[in-house]
Subunit: 205 residues, 2 copies
């Protein structure tokens, strides 16, 4: 007899989203405790924001921008995750996202290590991940062939893959990041991790 299968969790994010970084550090372990896998989907918040009418937290009105900057770091301390707000923020992430999808086709586990490394490069080491060279350096540090990846992130297939992922996120109701979908139920924000855990534990509440 085979084990019953349980549906994967879908984690939509942009590498330039601080709360996505915070959630990325805990979502796989949380899901694993309930026998679930997580599918990671880097997307482009700029397109999501334009389609929905939203904007980056730090580019909204001043009171919310100031609070958000304070809350990014405080939420990281609360969750026990290192955080240094990047000097360049927000920033373009299409090269990192495209690299993720190409690597995922080559080696799923390597793609996951790469995603963690990109987030940490930005939010721990203050590196400018909008630069293709930075992305290629991060991948090369994980043993990836730099020239193959440099070609892949410029390929029409990978550009189209990223576009398809963004197009798929919008009908799910995504308007910001992180956006996690479990069994058709959507959770927005790293601060919904306790609700995500309750959902996984109880099959809804």
């Amino acid at each position: 007899m085979s084990e019953p299968t349980v549906a994967s969790i879908d984690f939509y994010f942009d590498f330039s989203s601080p709360y996505s970084y915070l959630l990325s550090e805990q979502i796989d372990q949380l899901a694993a405790r309930y026998g679930r896998k997580v599918r990671w989907h880097p997307v482009l918040l700029g397109i999501i924001f334009k389609a929905t009418g939203s904007a980056p937290l730090t580019q909204q009105y001043p009171a919310k921008a100031a609070y958000s900057l304070h809350d990014f770091a405080r939420s990281a301390r609360f969750m026990g995750i290192p955080y240094r707000h990047p000097d360049i923020f927000p920033l373009a992430t299409q090269t990192a996202a495209r690299a993720y999808y190409w690597l995922h086709g080559e080696d799923c586990a390597l793609a996951r290590r790469f995603a963690h490394a990109v987030f940490r490069a930005l939010y721990v080491d203050n590196r400018d991940i909008s630069q293709a060279d930075t992305v290629l350096d991060i991948a090369a540090g994980l043993g990836v062939d730099r020239d193959r990846l440099a070609a892949a992130v410029q390929s029409p297939e990978i550009k189209e893959r990223l576009k398809q992922e963004v197009d798929a996120a919008l009908p799910l109701g995504m308007f910001g990041a992180p956006y996690v979908v479990i069994d058709g139920e959507a959770f927005f924000g790293a601060d919904r991790l306790p609700q995500i855990e309750r959902w996984l534990a109880g099959g809804g509440f």
Copy 2:
């Protein structure tokens, strides 16, 4: 020797804010566990939104409005609090807020019972608390002299008191509700209760 005194917690809210209702059901008990009192400050989010550039969650772009409606009820279930989204929403709350401040001058404990009753009238019993008659009925049900309260909510002194409370909230950085300030540290949203508890337990983190 006298006990060391600890500073009160300031809880700014609007009676028409769902997440303020959720936080109002738990903040006093949480504070009490750490030897703290909570000062309640009903204010007018319409003025806060105009001053900061924000808007009610359900009047922002459609994707966020839809998610918010879903999340109000789910967050209530998560917190074990009854919730029924009001048919009239958002709505004007100046009469309720003025009544709160007048009652507070008469009897602090009664004012707190009144505030809970107003929130529950709106979010459990679907009553239109924008109507002065509804507010007066709620107060009368708690033993308040209806005619005295009806006069008080029209008095220049009480109108000025509410205005002062709104004016005091803005320099604290308030841009939405609930907004809780502890020892100069601001927490926005019912979902920051775990961080508030950590702050109370550890004197900052």
